[in-house]
């Protein structure tokens, strides 16, 4: 469903010169699984997911989503994904209903089908009470619900969540994780990036630990624990990153 091959992204940076945000990142994710990208801030998770959602273009390498190439067929890719990140806000001067409807229509949904789908979503995400509330007046949790509804209104086969829980309180974050798990159970292919170990542990079927644009380790949680001889994911994470930094320092 998702296939990233040797993705590289370099930015021009005045201070650091050429800054390599992604350095040959490869991974794949299938339907019915949650693939986690776990890494500290600035590891390159957002860049990778922005490339998958066609908002950015890779400097080299390629990626396909549902069989469509992210660089040459960006329109098709965007039709088949739902993208949600800490940066995808809701419109202040639009109500929840208007916002979801607007995106549903951009996805080319028929009016009747859209209405049906929206009623269902608003019911399931318990959003009926904020239906006519303007974005500016919503709490963070409400906004998050609208964002989810916006991302899944067209029932895409692939979903990308980029640090979706950042800034949420425990209750709202828990609700969001439950929704993501539900979506996986419906057979969606999900990529989920986070820097919070617990979330990754709880949610991801497989995960990759990313640091400085590279994947340090990849596999199911069990595999990772066995391979690196650490029970606790947090210890494992620290070890990997420290090793990487020491190697980098020696070179």
């Amino acid at each position: 469903m998702i296939e990233a091959r040797a993705l590289t992204k370099a930015y021009a940076d005045l201070r650091r010169g050429q800054f390599i945000a992604l350095d040959g990142l490869s991974f794949s994710a299938q339907s019915g699984e949650i693939f986690g990208l776990l890494g500290p801030n600035g590891a390159g998770k957002t860049t990778a997911l922005r490339i998958l959602s066609t908002v950015l273009q890779p400097t080299s390498g390629s990626a396909t989503v549902n069989g469509f190439d992210c660089v040459t067929q960006p329109d098709m890719v965007r039709h088949h994904i739902g993208f949600m990140s800490a940066n995808t806000a809701v419109y202040d001067r639009m109500t929840a209903w208007e916002m979801v409807e607007f995106f549903g229509r951009l996805y080319g949904m028929e009016q009747e089908q859209l209405q049906e789908r929206m009623e269902l979503l608003f019911e399931r995400l318990q959003m009926q009470n904020i239906r006519d509330l303007l974005g500016a007046k919503m709490s963070t949790g409400m906004k998050q619900k609208v964002s989810i509804a916006r991302a899944i209104v067209h029932d895409p086969p692939v979903l990308i969540f980029d640090e979706a829980t950042s800034g949420l309180d425990v209750l709202v974050a828990r609700a969001l994780l439950d929704t993501v798990a539900e979506l996986r159970d419906q057979g969606k292919c999900i990529v989920f990036s986070t820097h919070i170990m617990r979330e990754a542990e709880r949610l991801c079927d497989r995960l990759a630990i990313v640091h400085e644009g590279k994947i340090l380790a990849e596999g199911t949680i069990d595999q990772l624990q066995q391979e690196h001889g650490k029970k606790d994911l947090e210890d494992l994470f620290f070890d990997l990153i420290r090793n990487q930094d020491t190697t980098a320092a020696i070179h």
Partner: protein, 765 residues
Amino acid sequence: MNWNNVKLIFAREMRDQLRDRRTLILIAVVPLLLYPLMGMSIFQLSQFLRHEAAKVQVVGAEELEGHAWLPPLLDGEQFQPILFDNPNERKNLALRGATQKAVDGAEHAEHDPPVGSKTSLEAARKLLAEGDVQVVLYFPEGFGKRLELVRQSLLNRAEPSATPDATELPEPQMFFNSANEKSRIAQLRVERVLRLWRTGVMQTNLRDGNVPLNAARPFELKPQDVAKKRQRHAAVWSKILPFLLFVWALTGAFYPAVDVCAGEKERGTLETLLASPAQRKEIAWGKLLTIMTFSIVTALMNLGSLGVTGKIVLEQLSKVSAFAGQDALSLPPLESLVWLAIALVPVAALFSALCLAFAAFARSTKEGQYYLMPLLVIIMPLMFLTMSPGIELNLGNSLIPITGLVLLLRSAIEGQYMQALPFVLPVVGVTLICCLLAIRWAEEQFNRESVLFRESERLDLGRWFVHLVRDRGNTPTLVQGVLCVAMILIVQFFINLALSARSSGQLDFSFLAQTVFISQVVCIALPAGLMTLLFTRQPRKTLMLDRWPKFSHLAVAALLAIFIFPLGAQFSQWVQQLYPFTPEVSAQVTAFSETMAQSPRWWLPYLLMAVLPAVCEEIAFRGFILSGFRHMGHKWWAIGFSAVAFGMAHFFLQQKISAAALGMVIGLLAVQTGSLVPCMLFHALYNGLTLATGDLAGQFKEDALANSFWEMFLVADGSGMFQTWVLVVCLLGAGVLLGWLHRLPYLPTDEERLQEVRERQLAGA
């Protein structure tokens, strides 16, 4: 492009803007309140003006008394009503000291000393200096006698010696203060009154002396204004209205543009939209249409509100005497509003696209607001140009963006449809091209990651320069290409200033040779060469000198130069007919070619004017600059922009246009052959042919070539133009060669390749 998506985005943006209080205030509340408020204050001011009469201190009024025949000048505290063209103006001048009563009055005793004496004149001048009166009108002692003597000399003209000479006697004097606006105006009014009175005195004398009145005035001069009242109104409005309307259209576009682009970035919804199926182009168009709607509505609301307020205020003002009878103060004719509305659409489109592009670049609304200034700096001079006296609609002016449109609009408002008709096509064409370019630019902004995801970085010039050199690419970037153009133009400007300061006025060959050498090597080759070495990793690839050209490419370049040359010469002549050289430029051009002819060796001009530019200009324009521009991803845009840059580097407007056209051909040659050598060959040959034909044309002028072999090719009038059959053959030949070139497989840049793949897939889908 999916227009459904554009419509959706447009509808969303419109709703969003209408829910925004700031926008509503700008487009609805401001015009609805602003003009009534302004009207009110003008009205208040006019009521204030009504009571403001200028004070005129009369000294020596008694000199006018005791002459029964004398037409009266003073009438109580005012001048005689008959002495005004418009009797309503009479109350603008209030007299003091005109009657004995005023002098005797207790309240004036302090200010107005007894009239008729020397001291009273000094007192009056003191009042003037203090600003208590605006004009002092002084009839010195003896002025009455002067009037009498003048009259006597006319009545007794049979015996001239009987009347003493009157010229020795004093004349009236008027004092005013030119540093004071009110005093200056009052002086003009009093002067006019006195002139009329003088005419009255003269006429009375003539009548009493039995001389026909027309003896002193053999004819009357009455200028007749052929403009109809409607046209007079139109002439005033045609200058003001387009200007006002376009300023409103610009401000109406700017603020929504900042909100829908920079505002969206700031609020974090841009990424939401970018990840949706809407293409960047659709997003840009949806936003563009929103901005355009606001631009148009703002302009119309302002116009409407101004119209309604204006009508009410003008009606009131016309009742106020100070403004009565003035033609300019009336509403514009209705047709003019129709023309304004028609012109508003393309102007709004152009401004909206420009605003969109600027606003898309801004990171935040605050940064966006700063971009209004550069936008105004670009647009305002184009509008002010039309205000300069004497500028009128002609083909040259009609080709200047915005200026042409404003001038056309002015002609339409003035009702000169037949004069305006020939220029409709060029104006509409230029406006549409500008619109398309601006829209294209705005679209481009939405395709650039560096614009959409700009992060704030501390401005550090040193660090930036280090970054440019350290992180240089194989070939220059687009921005570096633009920078090179700017660099060349700036260096050229200052070197030209320095050279013209050095020239002694008399040109000689060695000075000219130095000038040409400096302007080619220092102004053009040096900046481009330095930038190539500093900013690129592969200088030879950048300058397209990394591989030796094929022989066939060289042959085609040489043939193409021969075929294109006569066409180019013809084109240059058309350009010169369209924009004739001014006499000064003509003189300069002649002096230049005459000095060139003084060359000590025949081949020196060819080296200086053909070989040197071919090397230097090609290194810059087809080398560094075109390499940079090709990162745009569109071959033709890159060729076009490099051609425009090539044109701009030339000296006179006429050369600029011809050079830009030629730049298109050389640009194509560069891209298709992938080598700079054919371009240099073409350029050198073309310039060499220009010099050679110039020589031949000179010989024709001296009749040295009459009936020779050359007459088959060249027109014998010495203009250097070719016979029609030559032009036709060359057109065909050039067409074939360009077609062949166009079919050559060329080496696309990464950006161009990506664009091609995308276009293929879009066509496939």
